[in-house]
């Protein structure tokens, strides 16, 4: 390998002159390396091109088909695209699912991360919990949905969904939201955990030196320090929840409108989300109204863009994070 650049060493050494820039050195590379180098550039810019074209495509379709009235009218069953109403219910469904999912996922994810990093005893149990999160991250959403269906059709959970004397249907916002939390737990856990690892040990030791217990230190010192990591993780989790379709189709019923069934009003009723609305209005679903699907897709993409922008913002609010120096040093 070292003999790959004989040019400079054989030539009588010129007075110390710096090789100018990347371009001149690139010529001395082997052909295969040059090709790989060009390929890396192409792929990198190609990914940018894909992202831009997806956003532009939905922006154009959205401008073409999206009307403000679609956002505030309820959908209705109709053969023609002009008569099938808007997708207010789908937007409400997405918001509701995100809220329920995060309400369950954030406490569990954060507490798990805190326990693993700050306590984690006995050691084997800590390892099991760590690998459990990894397994959850790799479990397909469709399997989670099937599991939710089996779990919530048990008689004991019948109050959570529409039920008949014969048994529960297992389909409602609560059951779908609970299963959605499985999608959000891994990002929340990972972000919190990385934040906790990066928090300097001195912060904890200073608190211990003042006579605080471990749990008081966690509540007053450590958790405030990783607030931003928690927010980032939650936003990533929220993006996964609002982007998921399989769980909505199987566990929310993907009905046209929000329906209040069962003991807990609309929380135990069925409904749809933007993703299932898009699915149902694509040629693959029952509705087959591509115009509506495009309009809803534009709204969904806008939502994702805003969330994505939010993740970037969170990292910068109020100056560098407390553990910034540590990260730079690592």
């Amino acid at each position: 390998m070292a003999s790959a650049q004989p040019v400079d060493s054989t030539r009588p050494a010129p007075p110390r002159r710096r090789r100018h820039g990347r371009r001149s050195s690139l010529r001395s590379w082997r052909l295969r390396d040059q090709i790989t180098f060009v390929l890396a550039w192409t792929v990198g810019l190609g990914l940018c091109a894909v992202a831009i074209s997806v956003v532009v495509f939905f922006a154009v379709e959205g401008i073409q088909y999206l009307r403000p009235s679609l956002l505030v009218t309820h959908p209705s069953a109709s053969v023609s695209q002009s008569g099938s109403g808007g997708f207010l219910d789908a937007i409400e469904g997405t918001v509701l699912l995100g809220a329920i999912g995060l309400l369950i996922a954030v406490p569990i994810g954060v507490v798990t991360a805190v326990w693993v990093i700050e306590y984690g005893r006995p050691r084997w149990l800590g390892r099991i919990v760590e690998s459990t999160v990894e397994i959850i991250a790799g479990t397909p959403d469709i399997v989670i949905a099937i599991f939710g269906l089996a779990l919530f059709q048990l008689g004991a959970f019948s109050f959570l969904s529409f039920s008949e004397p014969g048994g529960a249907f297992g389909r409602s916002f609560l059951t779908a939201g609970a299963m959605m939390s499985f999608l959000a737990i891994p990002p929340v856990y990972t972000a919190t955990r990385n934040g906790l690892i990066a928090t300097p040990r001195q912060m904890r030791e200073a608190s211990f030196a003042l006579g605080k217990t471990r749990i008081a230190t966690i509540r007053r010192v450590v958790l405030p320090a990783v607030r931003r990591d928690i927010a980032t993780g939650s936003t990533l989790g929220l993006a996964r929840i609002i982007g998921d379709t399989a769980i909505v189709i199987l566990l929310l019923g993907a009905t046209l409108r929000l329906q209040s069934d069962g003991a807990l009003g609309f929380l135990s009723g069925t409904g749809s989300s933007l993703t299932s609305y898009i699915y149902n209005n694509s040629p693959a679903g029952d509705g087959n109204a591509p115009d509506k699907a495009y309009a809803a897709a534009a709204v969904l993409l806008l939502l994702v863009l805003v969330l994505n922008w939010g993740v970037g913002r969170i990292g910068r609010i109020g100056g560098p994070p407390i553990h910034a120096e540590r990260r730079l040093g690592a």
Partner: protein, 327 residues
Amino acid sequence: MLERLRRPWSDHRAEQLLGAVACLLAIGIILMIVFIVRGAWPTFSHLGLSWLGSGGNLDNQVGAMVNTSAHPAASAFAFHAWPLIWGTLLTAGFAVLFGLAISLAAAIFIVDFAPPFVQRTMKPVIRLLAAIPGVLYGLIGILVLVPFIDKHILTTAEQNSVINVIQLSGGGLGVTILLVTLMITPILTALITDALESVPRAWREGAIALGLNPLRATIAVSLRAIRPAIVAATALATARALGEAVVVSMVSGGKAFAPNPLDGKIFFLEPVETLASEIVRQADNLSIPVLHSTLYAIAALLLFSSFALSLASYLIRLPMRRYQVSN
């Protein structure tokens, strides 16, 4: 109650409380296995391992199940999942292969070669691509790509050549692989980029000082150092590809056919169905006992393959521990 929460907790109690919450996750996974295997039990007890084999037309088998009663005979369970397994292996295999190649090149580009301003724009772009909901890709696939292939790539002669076996409509293996690749590449790229950035700068610079060119230095030093991260990322991406249900069901052609690689170009145009997409397609029929049990068997197979992936990635990473940089 609130008053008690506000009082300082004792350390011992707090540790137990937090630990209990953490263990909830493990209990959740165990419950998942129990419920899914219980649902799948009738199928496995009637068919055993022949369930995984091939034989007969899968769509006809499912069609026959729809008409069975609440107390089915043993013969009603007839189902041979091989076309679904083959379809899953094909789509996930190709997608991960392509995705890995693309994301390795992209990550090397982002971390070591892109000028600073490109680097600053690339990272949010990758994050955005990773966050785009799958159903949007599916929508592009079904409304743009499938009609395009049907009109411009698929010829009438090709359609006629297989008309007695299947009907080609544009949707199929090729589009499915393309979309699944698009969906897993950003995740892979993001994970590999993070890992590459954690390699100490001095390692690579040392290699350059020894005479390697910057690209060789990245490949020989940085990529070698992050092998565990690459394995972990690949395992996660494979799990995502295996489990992608909705997008596949939108563009795969809607027929449980096992594409034959010997067919040449048509191979990529033949319809395909994966394990996950079959569940979505039959979601409305879950109330039929036989089909219920069959779909749970499919879910069980998916669940165990994702477990196997996690385990395999752990075992592969074990001997690499020595030289790793990132956790």
